[in-house]
């Protein structure tokens, strides 16, 4: 099989990258292994578990269902972008810590990316809305209750 290479230019967490990649390379593998941004996790590689969720131009996408070449000329945000330069938590990270919203932490990056995008759109969500928004991310440890509480708290704090 001829290897089919493409040049891509994209911005990840505000840094511009130019790379030559195979057409079949998954965006998740590109981020994790080519760019060493291993905070994005891979749970199922068939788009169900949500662990690999990143933001593409601000909207959540499953990086295991996208090819790196499809991200050409787009802006990607991953979990590594959430905390401030001095290490200060994003309000959702802080609330997840405060509410014990993570155990093994493997699904957490995907949940953080999904729910920060959700909170950008919905500033005053109720519990049902949060559960609906969260339902595309599987967590096997927490039973979701503390995550729901964390999102609620983060929304309150972000409203000020």
């Amino acid at each position: 099989m001829d290897i089919d290479l493409h040049d891509v230019t994209l911005s990840v967490n505000g840094t511009k990258y130019q790379r030559r990649v195979e057409s079949r390379l998954l965006l998740s593998d590109f981020l994790r292994h080519d760019l060493s941004l291993a905070g994005t996790h891979v749970g199922c590689e068939h788009g169900v578990c949500g662990a690999c969720t990143v933001l593409l131009d601000g909207a959540p996408v499953r990086s295991c269902l996208m090819l790196a070449v499809q991200a050409n000329n787009h802006e990607i945000s991953t979990v590594e972008s959430l905390a401030g330069k001095a290490g200060e938590y994003h309000p959702l990270q802080q609330a997840m810590h405060d509410h014990h919203g993570l155990q093994c932490g493997y699904c957490t990056p995907g949940i953080l990316m999904t729910m920060t995008a959700f909170l950008d759109e919905n500033h005053s969500p109720n519990e049902d809305e949060i559960r609906e928004a969260l339902s595309g991310n599987l967590c096997r440890c927490t039973g979701y209750q503390n995550i729901v509480d964390a999102v609620m708290t983060a929304a309150e704090r972000m409203r000020g």
Binding site: C49, L82, H100, C104, G105, Y106, L112, N137, Y144, Q145
Partner: protein, 780 residues
């Protein structure tokens, strides 16, 4: 000991790395020159291997090697038996453990045939398609009863039958109980558990450093020390030459315990052979076959009861699906056999099980580890008895609870830790009372009637259980005050999200007067702590937690001794707090712990005989037996009688796991366990066809519960301390998951008046489609 942190909902030390994407998981390990492995796995459940030809794969650019069983030479051998059979009279056990690569025969879908090594995982997977395999398919053993019938095809030809094990345990005389009984019931029950499906699949990275003679293995294991010991033996290395690191592990729930998975055995060998680091990460499809799971049992159970609902005796004969190999011995069915007795007085018990080899993936413990199956049987028997004797389901349970003055309570049968099944302590009735109060039991019938008038079908369920936790043999911990004043704690267990970095820090912080955040806990690195068993059977907090406490106490003594010499005062005049030792009443007279640690390791002068340098201690703790936790779950559901759509209206857990180290982390353990129990009861089902093919091997088809299915839970605790360890702790890791099945069966029967319609729910998992089938059958 000060109790400043112990018992408090201290926030977790490990969160920062996990929340910012900086935690190291196995797939995050990147090494120069690293190769990647992919495995060709059998697509049929049972077949003779006629031919495997890897020549074409080796020609593919980027492929470095491909190995079959014959290439392994003497390294090819069946894995060790992890848990030998317990000392039970008349026990039958046939050891047939898994092999690294199949030779001659494959015995389940997913069993590995070839390992391919290439420059990337993409190329390694391409090369799998190049391999030519000829298999002669055989009929598959899938059904337990057919598998035991004469003339059945055999999973292991040399055995002459598909019996893996046969065990009978009795106490009292069931025959005598029947003659005294006013009533006996006999039913058949089916209980299937499923896959643990952690969001991180398994993975192994192996790096052989030929110059250093050192093997380093990053492994998603729950038991790094056992993996180190086993692999050192297999590879012909000293244990000191092998370092196993279980870094952050993304959930385990049992199946990540060492069973010496083929990949764990193969990767280090490949790395030595090629002198290159090698990585293998399981994909989700592989996880459905290549990681162990828990499946079904069929119970023929009977119970003899008096007119007032007292249990006089139980007889149970059950079949346990063991899968194609039995590396974990009898742990799962033995847990079912023992846990069936529950929190109840059962004067006579006659229980026999047969573990059956099948052409299905290997069965080893998954959160609950067979306890669910036993709890389902006794709880359903009690529900049936309550119905027939016209006794309230909660009341019949209350009448049979072991009274508080009966502890320690000895059941005359052997448990999975090989000791007699003895409950160390407990006070069961208050737990039942709290659960009934919390769920609104007394008012429920009125609530139900009111809802029914509005066309809503509510139902209630309530189930009791015990959980054997915190078994031995032992764990250890090394506690050390660093010269920067921080405390380091190392232990041999692995961690998969249980909060060990925090609870062990709480224990050490209280003894050593430092902040929890200043205690740096290391788990799962065999170079940091040499000895240990692992994280399973709800034992981490109990066994390793007590070891941390003992080691911290010794360090505390060393601190006091050194400071008293320094200040020329009595140890009683010293106080350790805020990272320093000071003289009582003279706070300006102090020495920082870090400075003291430096003084304990001087550059000049001699260490006095009988003393050791540093502020460091290693201690071990081994309980004489497991501590028994207990609890009651109660649930109110609403169910649509046409579509069988389920909504959980209220869910209550009341639980007693002795002294609580961190209530926030404990609640998290319960929440997660219940969520897995709900999945098991109503959403998750491994569907195998009669050829042993799994028909729903994706997360789109095997339904893990989401935030929409798992309700808000209301938790409460009572505390009956365990006399088996100084901290009084009992384990809690599995408590949430264990009793959920019977709760569902009971609540659904109640919501839909199924008993009146002649339908009994005697199986788990249930689902809307299964309920449709069962009720339609009844209508006919």
């Amino acid at each position: 000991m000060s109790t400043r942190n112990f018992g408090e909902p201290v926030k977790r030390n490990e969160d920062r790395k996990l929340l910012t994407g900086q935690a190291l998981f196995v797939d995050d390990v990147e090494l120069p020159g690293m190769l990647h492995a992919a495995l060709l796995r059998s697509q049929v459940a049972h077949a003779r291997i006629l031919k495997i030809d890897v020549a074409k794969a080796l020609q593919r650019p980027g492929v470095v090697a491909a190995f079959v069983a014959a290439d392994l030479g003497d390294y090819w051998r069946p894995g060790p038996l992890l848990v030998p059979p317990p000392p039970i009279t008349g026990i039958v056990f046939h050891q047939r453990t898994q092999v690294p690569l199949a030779r001659e025969k494959v015995r389940h879908v997913g069993e590995p045939l070839v390992i391919v090594i290439a420059a990337s995982r993409y190329i390694a997977e391409d090369a799998l398609d190049d391999i030519e395999v000829e298999l002669e398919p055989l009929a598959a053993v899938v059904d337990l009863e057919k598998g035991l019938a004469a003339g059945s095809v055999l999973v292991h030809d040399d055995l002459g039958s598909n019996v893996s094990a046969h065990v009978r345990q009795t106490t009292g005389s069931y025959a005598a109980a029947v003659t005294k009984a006013d009533h006996t019931l006999k039913r058949r029950f089916f209980y299937e558990h499923g896959i643990s499906s952690p969001i991180e699949t398994r993975g192994v990275v192996a790096q052989w450093d030929a110059r250093a003679g050192q093997m380093t293995i990053w492994d998603t294991t729950q038991a790094p020390v056992f993996v180190r010991n086993g692999l050192a033996g297999m590879l012909g290395l000293n244990e000191r030459q092998v370092r196993v690191i279980a870094p952050f592990v993304g959930g385990g729930f049992g199946p990540k315990i060492m069973m010496f998975y083929p990949e764990e055995v193969l990767l280090p060998w490949v790395s030595m052979r090629l002198n290159r680091p090698v990585k293998w990460i399981e994909d989700r499809l592989e996880h459905f076959f290549a990681t162990t799971q828990e499946r079904g049992q069929i119970h023929d159970a009977e119970m003899a009861v008096s007119r007032d609902g007292r249990i006089l005796g139980i007889k149970d004969v059950f079949l346990h699906d063991g899968g194609a190999y039995d590396p974990y011995g009898l742990t799962v069915p033995l847990n079912s056999q023992c846990t069936l007795l529950g929190p109840y007085v059962v004067p006579a018990y006659d229980s026999t099980f047969t573990q059956v080899f099948t052409n299905l993936p290997i069965v080893t413990p998954y959160r609950g580890a067979g306890r669910q199956h036993g709890v389902f049987v006794i709880e359903r028997l009690l529900d049936l008895a309550a119905h027939e004797l016209q006794i309230d389901p909660a009341e019949i349970r209350r009448r049979n609870l072991i009274p508080p003055d009966a502890f320690p309570y000895r059941n005359e049968i052997i448990y999975q830790d090989f000791g007699a099944l003895e409950y160390d302590s407990g006070d069961y009735e208050p737990v039942l009372d709290m659960a009934m109060q919390s769920i609104g039991y007394a008012a429920f019938r009125q609530e139900q009637a009111t809802a029914r008038l509005q066309g809503r079908h509510l139902g209630i369920g309530l189930a009791c259980y015990v959980e054997g936790t915190g078994i031995g043999p032992y764990e250890g911990a090394k506690v050390q005050v660093q010269s920067n004043g921080k405390v380091s704690v190392a232990t041999g267990i692995g961690t998969q999200g249980q909060g060990h970095f925090t609870v062990f820090a709480q224990i050490a912080a209280d003894q050593l007067g430092v902040a929890v955040a200043d205690v740096d806990v290391v788990t799962g690195d065999t170079d940091q702590f040499y000895w240990g068993a692992g994280t399973f059977a709800s034992r981490g907090a109990v066994v390793a937690g007590n070891a941390v406490n003992e080691a911290s106490k010794v360090v505390r003594k060393k601190i006091l001794k050194l400071a008293s010499d320094l200040f020329e005062c009595a140890e009683d005049d010293l106080v350790i707090a805020d990272g320093k030792v000071s003289i009582v009443g003279i706070p300006e007279k102090f020495v920082a712990l870090g400075d003291l640690a430096r003084q304990a390791n001087p550059m000049r002068g001699a260490v006095q005989p009988g003393t050791e340098p540093g502020l460091e201690a290693t201690q071990y703790f081994g309980p004489k037996m497991g501590a028994t936790a207990n609890g009651v779950h109660a649930m109110i559901i609403e169910m649509d009688p046409q579509t069988f759509e389920l909504k959980i209206v209220r869910y209550v857990v009341v639980h007693d796991c002795g002294t609580v180290i961190n209530p926030m982390i404990l609640a998290g353990q319960i929440h997660g366990g219940v969520a897995q129990g709900i999945g098991n009861a109503f959403y998750e089902k491994l569907v195998f066809d009669d050829q042993g093919q799994l028909l729903n091997a994706s997360l789109a088809d095997y339904l893990l519960p989401t935030a929409l299915e798992v309700p808000r839970m209301q938790l409460a605790h009572t505390v009956t301390t365990s006399p088996l360890n100084p901290l009084g702790i009992k384990g809690a890791g599995e408590a949430g998951a264990i009793p959920v099945g019977p709760l569902f069966a009971q609540a659904i029967e109640d919501a839909l008046d199924l008993k009146a319609k002649g339908v009994e729910l005697r199986e788990i998992p249930l689902s809307p489609s299964r309920l449709f089938e069962l009720t339609r059958k009844a209508k006919r």
